[in-house]
Amino acid sequence: MEKKHLKRLDLIFKNEHDTEEILAKVLAKKNEEIINDLIISGLKGRGGAGYPTGLKWKLTAEEESDEKYVICNADEGEPGTFKDREILSAVPHKVLTGMAVCARVTGAKQGFIYLRGEYKFLVPELEKAIAAFHNLLATLNLDFSVSVFIGSGAYICGEESALFESMEGKRGEPRNKPPFPTQKGYKAKPTVINNVETLAHTYSIFKYGPEKFHDLGVKDSHGSKVFSVSGDTPIPGIYELEFGMTLQKFVDDFADGDAKAVQVGGASGFCVPRKRFEKTVIGYQGTLTGPSLPTGGSMMIFNSSRSMYNVLHNYLDFFVEESCGQCTPCRVGTQQLLLGIQAVKKGEKPSLYLDKLLSLAETMRVTAKCGLGQSVANSFSSIVENFREEMIY
């Protein structure tokens, strides 16, 4: 029953114990070279939004400021995602190395790991790794220190500007953009904020060179990606795979043989039904053939015994609770979508009411202030359009 279509990679979790060597090698390079390497590698943010990492570092480096910050976003709250927890517990030195090099490049002296409250149990081990790393930095004469900031159970704080607000002692409410974090981030100072996995990937790039990383994956999506696989699968867990696979290949490898849908990218991602498995490619939107999906790595598999109404209901419950309530489209929209599907299910509203809800979701996509409200339409529309009959009967 062993059927491996997809190549498993082992870059991120390989523990090579050569931090000192890698760090010394990279720090010997000029800042421009390091940024160029990152740009050549094609590394994009692994939190889901996919902003080019090299460019982010470059923009922050170019800002004039007496204070700058490097923040590792470990507020991994997207349903179905658990890779960052594993990376932080298995290879924290890779994340810290990425942060330290970023600090040198941008001129930051202070770094933070914003760790979600749900992962507080990781703190003792993480503090040990940080202490050892600080000792290493002292021998390399790099003036940079990292501390852990613990969140308190708010999904929205994974949104970068809400995360800054939270660190500043405020409610985790997203800010207007621009200005972007590279210009005004934490304490209104230029800030690089990268996902845990993104920082860990920089280690591989420093070690093996940008070309090797670039050669992995397809067209606009280079490198490997850590996927969190859960739901109806005999082998749930964390897998490092190459970008550019079709969903069909993924399902062949991971599902239980009866998959009817895969939710790619968590509650804020897209639901792909069986008939589209063959044509859907996992990667950032680019010049791929057929539709492609960006993803923070959450892959939830549902087999034919599952009610997609229940799945959508669960997602909407989640959004209703986690909406920060700041902007009306998201605060009211999430509640109305939930009430709406309940009313259709009970027969209190005609099935055509679903079309009104779909247009409400599209309005949220355009008018909500941040990614949370805007992306509710992703799962809502893809589930309602593909499983309409399950919403009604």
């Binding site: 179905g80 658990f82 002692g169 405020k170 985790g172 859960s230 867990g237």
Partner: protein, 159 residues
């Protein structure tokens, strides 16, 4: 009240008087007191020289900060989809039966609170729950009974 004042001033000394210290201070209060009382909020506001309304605003935003007293052991069961699919409801019924409280309630001896929470990031090992900061995964009703019994026995031994 004096105890509370001492606690706040210890936390303020530890974390500093900047606004950036507010969340760590609130977390410290929550850890010691099981909730953030209005008295604590006023005290923190004085120490940090910000309005009590701002402290209240922050304290009520985060799901891991409570403004009602909770038990010594706060149980948070993950209710997100994959944990739900793998038997979250049985886990909750078992907890309700053992602790003789409903979801959202605290036992009369103030030992246990039973809450639901959003994704704990343990989806591959669902159903999952946190008891205070500690995660428990791959739960079954049997396993839940053992975990709770262990805590109850430990508590009984202490008293």
């Amino acid at each position: 009240m004096n105890d509370l004042r001492n606690l706040v001033s210890t936390l303020v000394d530890k974390h500093g008087r900047d606004e950036e210290s507010l969340l760590p201070i609130l977390q410290g209060i929550e850890n010691s007191e099981s909730y953030v009382s209005q008295e604590a909020m006023v005290e923190i506001a004085k120490e940090l020289n910000i309005s009590a309304a701002q402290v209240y605003g922050t304290a009520t935003f985060y799901s891991f900060l409570s403004i009602q007293p909770l038990g010594k052991y706060v149980i948070r069961v993950c209710k997100t989809i994959t944990c739900s699919m793998h038997g979250k409801n049985q886990v909750i019924s078992e907890l309700e039966n053992m602790l003789k409280i409903k979801l959202g309630e605290t036992t009369s001896d103030k030992r246990f609170s039973l809450l639901e929470t959003n994704c704990l990031g343990q989806c591959h090992k669902g159903p999952a729950m946190l008891i205070n900061d500690e995660p428990y995964t791959d739960l079954t009703p049997e396993k839940v009974r053992e975990i709770i019994r262990d805590i109850q026995q430990k508590e009984f031994a202490v008293n």
